[in-house]
């Protein structure tokens, strides 16, 4: 089943390139993918922690390389996120003025890359699948983007290429850190070796720093973040949904999957560095977001900012924080996808996305306004949405980590500061919402509301966020076992 | 060979070698090269390499240099007129060459065997016979490769110098 989830989008995109009917194929493939991943998610037996649906094919005996897929609760959560956002993104794609097939194929490839990476049990394929998205991103932004699309496409490509090769070196060093007899790319085996203490403590730090720099670039951690707002602002809406909603979670997933279980000492040792960086993400980028004058740029910055919370969950190095981070990854992916989707619809209708030039759109576009409002409330973390549950867990996890040190520690300060980030995001999101939809403009543009068909993906996104907001336990009980084996409560 | 003769031939070779490089007139350069190769051939003979010495005269002084002269005459190359020289490049190149020379001489100075005399040979050398035997026994494979090489060179020269195809 997992193989089918991984390869269905790839097969569909190949079919699209060979000339299959564009929208029907893409919609069909992503709907089937969604159904399959929902089935897989609920079918997963969380009492029996560990990887399910494992299939393995030998690739190279010399390198001890296999093509292996398998999923535990964490990966299933991410796969579910990917397929939800994929379906929504494909649905949100309206009329494409040129190369329609290629557009859908690129979307499917990005999602396939993300799903493949989440499902891989093998370091090399885990990496390789993520890179599958690189060329589609370049083409999507370059051909169908808006605004300063060329510069943005270059920037995102070069940054991501550089970041991923840095990451590759980190992965190679991890592979090389194992003793020659047990050297393997298999995640499970490396994890077992790491638990047995076979990765020399002296090697942990350099490996972790390479990984952090590599993943950090992909996640837009602060010094490496400059590509993200520009790319999201210029990308066509479905591409931004997939990229900000799903693909960027790859780096976080990597940290949860590799850094936390395999290099826990290094994570603790460098936690102060990461805390400073994530605070920069939250506070500095948060303030930068409030200063944005355009909706698409604002959303781009806000997606960079929210990465900070997820980092906070990761760096707390306990089950509560890590599980919260996983839930937040899911919740953030949903809410940002919704916001980017509505923004894309707005872009088609109004001449500019300058916040000052817009106003009163709620009168002509009530449904879009409602949907955007839901997305904004979710992103802020209003109770009821998954984001709320997740942020609570992250904050408690991080705060409790400080108590281990028996005195009021840097960690607590950081958590408190990060809490202020929630206020910042409330400020800019609500302000934007009010300006666009409620504020008065001289002459409210007479634009049509989003079409009836688009209510479906909006409902899908909102429903999934609400579902996990009200029943976070379904997700937590699946994800937490992943961390329980090697993290403290 | 007495050292006087060695130094005479070496001096002839080097002086005419320098003349090859400094002459403005290509014909004079080519003729200097002939003399230089004759000196070199004498040095070969002084090292008991009679066969190589003869080959040197036949192939180089005979065939190759005639070819050079022929081409120079064919193209009717005159002494080149003085062009504006790029003095920086000139000085740089001269410096590189000078460094190479110093480097080579240092290595030779540091090489122990370079200060030793040539050991005596056991018997009068019949080197045509020895080389011939080696060439057609041990060195059979390289010889065949060389044969292919000469074939390719021949074809290539014909192709490249055909002015008009039929």
């Amino acid at each position: 089943m997992l193989l089918l989830i991984v390869f269905l989008p790839i097969i569909a995109s190949a079919a699209l390139l060979l000339g299959a009917p564009a929208r029907a194929t893409a919609l069909g493939a992503s709907a089937i993918t969604l159904v399959l991943s929902v089935l897989a998610f609920f079918d997963y037996d969380h009492a029996q922690a560990g990887f399910a649906y494992v299939r393995s094919f030998p690739i190279s005996t010399d390198l001890r390389l296999n093509f292996a897929v398998g999923a535990d609760g964490l990966s299933l959560t991410m796969i579910l996120l990917s397929s939800v956002v994929l379906l929504a993104a494909v649905w949100f794609t309206g009329k494409v003025d040129r190369y329609e097939n290629a557009f859908y194929a690129c979307l499917l490839l990005i999602a396939a890359g993300a799903i493949g990476a989440f499902a891989s049990l093998d370091l090399l394929f885990f990496y390789a699948f993520h890179e599958l998205a690189l060329i589609p991103t370049f083409l999507l932004i370059g051909i169908w983007g808006s605004g300063n699309r060329r510069a943005a496409a270059w920037k995102v490509t070069i940054y991501l290429a550089l970041g991923s090769f840095v990451l590759l070196i980190g992965l190679i060093m991890l592979y090389r850190a194992l003793p020659a007899a047990t050297r393997t790319f298999d995640l499970r085996a490396i994890q077992a070796a790491a638990s047995a203490g076979q990765i020399a403590p002296a090697m942990q730090s350099p490996i972790y720093l390479w990984l952090l720099a590599g993943f950090g670039t992909l996640i837009s951690l602060v010094p490496f973040h400059t590509w993200a707002p520009e790319a999201y602002a210029s990308a066509p809406a479905p591409a931004a949904m997939l990229h900000a909603g799903v693909l960027k979670k790859f780096g976080l997933y990597g940290l949860l999957r590799i850094a936390l279980p395999m290099l826990p000492d290094a994570v603790r040792q460098w936690s102060n560095l990461l805390l400073v960086l994530l605070l920069a993400n939250i506070i500095y980028i948060g303030l930068a977001t409030t200063a944005q004058r355009r909706l698409d740029w604002m959303l781009g910055y806000s997606s960079v900012m929210h990465m900070g919370y997820i980092f906070l969950g990761i760096v707390s190095v306990n089950v509560l924080g890590a599980t919260g981070a996983a839930l937040l990854m899911f919740a953030h992916g949903i809410s940002i996808a919704l916001l980017f989707g509505i923004t894309g619809e707005l872009r088609k209708r109004v001449p500019t996305l300058e916040l000052d030039a817009l106003g009163g759109l709620a009168r002509t576009m009530p449904i879009a306004s409602f949907a955007f409002g839901l997305g904004a409330f979710a992103a802020i973390g209003l109770p009821g949405f998954a984001n709320f549950a997740a942020e609570i867990m992250v904050f408690f996890g991080a705060f409790r980590n400080g108590f281990d040190f028996q005195h009021f520690h840097f960690f607590q300060w950081a958590t408190l500061l990060a809490l202020w980030g929630v206020v910042i995001s409330a400020v800019y999101l609500l302000r934007a919402y009010r300006r666009i939809f409620w504020g008065t403009s001289a002459e409210p543009a007479a634009v049509p509301d989003i079409s009836f068909g688009l209510r479906l993906p909006v409902t899908l996104l909102v429903a999934s966020s609400l579902f996990f907001g009200f029943f976070p336990q379904t997700l937590i009980e699946r994800v937490a076992p992943t961390f329980r084996t090697h993290l403290s409560k | 060979m007495p050292s006087v003769l060695f130094w005479i031939f070496a001096a002839v070779m080097l002086v005419f070698g320098v003349l090859v490089v400094v002459n403005r007139n290509p014909v004079a350069s080519a003729l200097s090269l002939v003399v230089c190769f004759l000196g070199l051939s004498a040095l070969f003979m002084s090292l008991n390499a009679y066969f190589i010495g003869i080959i040197q005269v036949l192939v180089y002084a005979g065939a190759v240099m005639v070819l050079f002269l022929f081409i120079i005459m064919l193209l009717d190359l005159r002494a080149e007129e003085c062009r504006k020289m790029n003095w920086v490049a000139f000085a740089g190149s001269a410096l590189v060459a000078f460094c190479l020379l110093i480097q080579l001489l240092t290595v030779i100075g540091r090489t122990r065997i370079a200060h030793e005399h040539f050991p005596a040979l056991a018997a009068p050398v019949d080197d045509v016979r020895n080389i011939g035997q080696l060439l057609f026994s041990s060195y059979n494979l390289p010889l065949q490769v060389i044969a292919v090489l000469v074939l390719v060179a021949t074809i290539g020269v014909i192709i490249l110098s055909k002015r008009q195809l039929r």
């Binding site: - | 080097l14 490089v21 390499a49 190359l77 090489t111």
Partner: protein, 106 residues
């Protein structure tokens, strides 16, 4: 009797003369002659080493002289092809001056 070193020094000087010619001269034909000087300088060293390393039978080590033989052959072939190219170039461009051959530059 001469030492091995004196031959090597003479050869090194000749090699440098050839190398300097390649670097300094701008006429292709003369550059080509300088390249021949370099090859011959190497040959002189080879023959000197060959004479120096006397085999147990009291003969020079002929392996080096074999290489000299091949070098001479190759050089002759190279000269033939090289001159053919130079002639073709001269026909097309009326020059053998290397500064005139500079259309390929960015």
């Amino acid at each position: 009797m001469m030492t091995l070193g004196s031959y090597l020094v003479v050869s090194a000087v000749l090699f440098t003369i050839g190398f300097a010619g390649v670097l300094l001269r701008r006429n292709i034909i003369i550059i080509f002659m300088s390249l021949e000087l370099m090859l011959n300088a190497a040959n002189l060293s080879l023959v000197a080493f060959s004479r120096f390393r006397v085999s147990p039978a009291g003969l020079p080590e002929y392996h080096a002289e074999m290489l000299v033989f091949f070098v001479i052959t190759v050089a002759a072939a190279e000269v033939a092809v090289g001159l053919a190219i130079i002639v073709a170039l001269y026909r097309a461009r009326r020059t053998t001056h290397i500064d005139d051959i500079n259309q390929l530059k960015f």
